[in-house]
Symmetry: C2
Subunit: 203 residues, 2 copies
């Protein structure tokens, strides 16, 4: 009657999810083969189906896990920042990811939105639920914008940030990339009333 400790299998599962999130972002969903994901997690192919019913199930869950890890990283250390400083830090941290060499730390919003758009209703609803929770957790801490609900401020801000980072990563040169990031920050600063940038726009 011997069993492995109860945390063993869930921990392995979590490791597979982290590996999957990383490879999906770096290579796209089709580039992240089950074999590559398992190798990245230090395992072999065969064991995969003891943890997930299919590759698609893995991808769906990895997307959600990635979103939460990204938001946690964004908000870390800003628990007591007042609205203007909070918004400025969020914007600058978010845009800064476009200058990372790799994509492991990238927010899924900047790399996986088209995949979600092509996915079926069930996936899109789960995704929407999580992003709604993410937006709700942040909207009250953004500066008030006359004539806009706090939720709309947060939605428009994330849309602009995700678009700017995706656009910047597609630029051919560091100069082009930084110009896009600086322009996006300037646009956001105009209506979010952000204090001057501390780093966006120059590497």
């Amino acid at each position: 009657m011997a069993r492995y400790s109860a945390e063993h299998k869930p921990r392995t599962r979590a490791r597979i999810l982290v590996a999957a999130e990383r490879l999906i972002k770096e290579r796209g969903p089709q580039g992240a083969s089950v074999e590559a994901v398992m190798r990245e997690a230090g395992l072999t192919v065969g064991g995969f189906y003891a943890h997930f019913p299919s590759k698609e199930a893995l991808l769906d869950e990895a997307l959600i896990v990635g979103l939460e890890r990204s938001l946690a990283r964004l908000a870390a250390g800003l628990e007591h920042a007042p609205p203007p400083a909070f918004a400025a830090a969020l914007v600058d941290r978010y845009l800064a990811q476009a200058r990372d060499d790799g994509l492991e730390r990238a927010c899924p919003l900047t790399l996986l939105l088209p995949e979600v758009a092509r996915a079926d209703d069930a996936v899109r609803r789960r995704f929407a639920g999580r992003t709604a929770a993410m937006v709700a957790g942040i909207e009250a801490r953004l500066p008030a914008v006359p004539g806009m609900a706090p939720r709309d401020v947060a939605l428009a801000m994330f849309a602009s940030l995700a678009g700017a980072v995706a656009f910047a990563r597609a630029a051919g040169t560091p100069r082009g990339r930084d110009r896009i990031l600086a322009a996006a920050r300037a646009g956001l600063a105009r209506w979010l009333a952000l204090p001057p940038s501390d780093d966006a726009g120059s590497a």
Copy 2:
């Protein structure tokens, strides 16, 4: 010494490109197999390599072709619109694509930026060159924004638009989608000084 007319082969090539652009946007680059693209163009697999050296070459070129077709559609009929009306029409037309059922008319920026980000330097540079030309053709016709170069206004606007449409398509419901579109328009209206919306935000 009989030959087909000189326009025959280039016309077929163009048909393959249009088919490829459509399938790449609808299914993603890996979902658009050579066989599916050729069938969509009314041909069979075998003839493909008489037109393109590889699938990758097709994808790279289809992206550029798609960008140009999208910009042409956006600016159609606005040749003599004054800056505020031009900007408002551009914003509303761009956001409206998120409410289309299919993805054939989608702007590549809203569906393919992550693929470009993962591509090699050569692809990114070609892409950057075309978007730069696209932005340059439009920047002078946007409203002036104090403290921002016209190019930066255009870059920030496209980044926000592309992000908003990608985000909206990933929403789980039409209501969620329309809320994102309306929020994005409100944010843009604040710093671009757009006239009130004629249609964004409600289907």
